[in-house]
Symmetry: D2
Subunit: 287 residues, 4 copies
């Protein structure tokens, strides 16, 4: 066949298998989203529509890889998908996993744009970069998630204070100067005394980010139970449907604390199976 003389070039492809037995996080970030959010006049400090659009794109990814992804966590224009440590998705080929997740997220972001952004016209195709990071133990994964949520907190408190100052008449430069070096406590106090904002009353989605997980098979997050466990109404029912069934209720989006132990203790299945379970071996890498 005509192909055969050139086919040797396939030998230059690399086997980039993710180490078995590890948790893998696929993290995406919006590229040049500062400009993108300006161009589309996103609300400041947070645009609920844009955040729900991200959540919908993430749900499209979770739906497609339901057996392989444990859950996802997002904030701002960033999303982390957690691949189960036992998963043999695409024989754990890093490039294939990374590219497919980023592709589907990006594609879904555009696909659902109108549903969430209403009559705001999309001016051009946005893009996201991504990477895969391996975490050998559940402790490492918990610390990764805590790192992202702590980041959400720090950024959102800063942004809330910053935009309160700007909306109150300061220039952006002045606002930055005022906030430089202030503690969390000082920002909280300033918001309350000067602008009448109780930071803890801000939307939990802004303060805690969005944790998206399948409602099945345990049904844990449906009905009474979830309302009880996630105090103060922080559990949002899935607000965005995907192709083939809007609001099908398969996934729920929570805005809860994932730094402390409470959430994880109440939902032990999320990080199962335990370290001691024998890993399933990707078939194609046995040699």
């Amino acid at each position: 066949m005509a192909c055969s003389r050139f086919e040797y070039v396939k030998a230059f492809e690399r086997h980039d298998r993710l180490l078995p037995g590890c948790w893998a996080v696929i993290r995406l970030d919006g590229r040049s989203f500062t400009n993108f959010s300006k161009a589309h006049a996103f609300a400041k400090p947070n645009d609920s529509r844009a955040l729900r659009l991200c959540n919908a794109a993430a749900e499209a990814v979770l739906r497609d890889f339901d057996q392989h992804l444990a859950f996802a966590y997002g904030e701002s224009d960033e999303f982390s998908f957690v691949l189960k440590r036992q998963s043999a998705l695409f024989a754990r080929r890093e490039s294939k996993i990374l590219s497919t997740v980023v592709s589907l997220f990006s594609s879904a972001y555009v696909f659902y744009w109108n549903k969430f952004m209403g009559d705001v016209p999309l001016k051009g195709p946005p893009s996201f970069d991504g990477r895969v990071v391996l975490y050998p133990t559940t402790k490492h994964l918990r610390d990764y998630l805590a790192w992202r949520q702590a980041d959400t907190h720090v950024n959102n408190l800063f942004n809330t204070a910053f935009w309160a100052l700007v909306k109150g008449g300061k220039s952006q430069r002045e606002s930055e100067e005022i906030l430089k070096g202030t503690s969390s406590k000082e920002k909280n106090e300033m918001l309350f005394t000067e602008y009448g904002i109780n930071y803890n009353d801000e939307d939990a989605m802004f303060r805690k980010g969005s944790f998206i997980v399948s409602n099945l098979p345990s049904g844990r997050w449906g009905g009474e139970v979830s309302l009880k466990r996630t105090r103060e109404g922080e559990a949002a029912s899935s607000e965005c449907g995907m192709a083939g069934g809007d609001g099908d209720g398969k996934f729920v989006t929570l805005h809860v604390d994932i730094i402390g132990d409470t959430f994880w203790n109440e939902n032990p299945d999320l990080l199962a199976p335990s370290d001691l379970a024998p890993p399933r071996i990707p078939k194609s890498i046995g040699r």
Copy 2:
């Protein structure tokens, strides 16, 4: 700061720099596109609209990374982007390059859907997987491109014959049986004698795939020159505009033979700089 206790998890990120001095090909493939093309009733054996949509998505990628990508070659639902061997794009970080290219292509595919597919509704977000392959020398890269174009030829000749049989009344199973083991020559003859199809008269885009390259700065592919060089009118002027200027003429899409030496000899800049040029070192990897 609250982050610091958990920030150690950043140390698990990997530096996945592409070897300097090599050509790198980023190749994308449509995921489950057999189903996708059925669901959207793509014409068989080739859907010109869908191919032009792919070309438009590829052009969006080329436009964004104009300094770094030498050119792109596509066929069917597959596209290969060639990163210049001297490029220091994203410090040559493989994950970042791969994910960004796949993301932008996917996003643009949805963004331009209506422009090319008219009133065919997009039923859900499509996705593409991707990989990066390194080629140390220009000889290797040329052979890679030849491999893909030979594949285009073999697949398209088969598909043209197959769908001629099906449209002529055979079942898909019968058609496969008839074609099994036939040579290129036999397929050509069958098309001509039984269906009056001269395969060489088929659309060059179907037979040769699409080679997309910047028209600037040399302007080589504009006007008379390109018509002369690409005999038989195989040069298509850029038919699809991107955000900010439809049909801006910055890129041209060619449907020419890239297996033989003629095209490359006539356009020596495409594969420059030569092996002997000292590579530019990505700044962040000097240690």
Copy 3:
């Protein structure tokens, strides 16, 4: 300086850091040791002198990297060194760790040859190949060690039966035929009934391999304690001294079961620190 024009070639070096937080096993194997052992007339099925020489070479490695290696396990011409999961040895650079361990082992093997092999002249420089394998959890590491010791058992039982047959007058080919497909039980019975060999009375070093570990700081394997814990006198005191102090007692070589839980339960420090300890981050990879 004259160097600078060429120094860009350093940018082609790769950062091959081992994933933090994982156990890493550096496993060495003698290259062409079937020939090597024939050329030096090693006793069959086991040559105690040659095994002790391997153990001495391993001890030289452990001595040099005492803070970083947890222990080592060897059988035949193979040795596995276990890098502590928290170790930042050489910033966890894989090539540097692998090459240094293999180099020192090889060098020590020649250096101590005369001490263990007496007047057998070394006919040429032997060599060992090596690889590094990562294990994310302690369960995986335990299974790795069990895999190697199970291999020791299977190989040694076969070899003991094989050489009993050969010494009893069979040809090597006949002996292989006789043993083909026999169970462990059948080999044991044949050894006992036909050759009066009780396999369990064979030297524990042959049956169990050699587990080498630092005696310090706990001093666990000195004196009464070790004799009690390792029943039937299976604990061998360190029999081979290294440069700067023969028989310095810093390391002990045990021939014990490491498949079951008993040994590990009695020596919990060996696999500490636990999964939950925060890993130390290699300095040079913080970004």
Copy 4:
């Protein structure tokens, strides 16, 4: 079989194949050789015996991998082995290639110690670390070799001047101060005017390092021809034999300029086959 339950741990092994079509350099460095050379009272600034010992160890490596290694270049306690770009040695597995080369070099260094170092007792096993670096084109490889030889020149000129000062009565600290910031020209002049040393008359092995290459099949470096080509007697016949035939003449050690083009133009086979030759594909990586 008893092994099977644990055998899954093999799936954690990584396929670390070197990119085909590239030159690969395996470079070794003595570990803590400043101390090692003091402990064994090596002559300063250069110890001819120790350098010849390194060359002999390198020759042992070249002999073992004669079909795969193009040549080797060494200086001080460092050696670079160049793997042919077409070589499929060990299916191009990086760990196996690196570990075997470092192992054999280290083992041979100890094995040949007495032959070269006479009655100097070896006090302990030395070790070498190593790494593999890929170079996509012959231009890159030439620049790598030029980098190492430029380094040899700079270091040796400094060391020659430094030890002339020290032997002339200066302290080591004073000597360093005197040389700080001096140019090559200034060092040359100081050596000549103050110590009567014409640097260009120093042993070519010290000034140029050692380039070791197989004499076969062309026999180029034997007899008259090599004397003519390597002017001023800089070609040293192979001075050190290996196991199985001392001084067998298979390899020659040259001390010539490898920065300029002359040497390479006169010996075009050394860097063949050219870039355009189709690479041989390692069998096991075809998928």
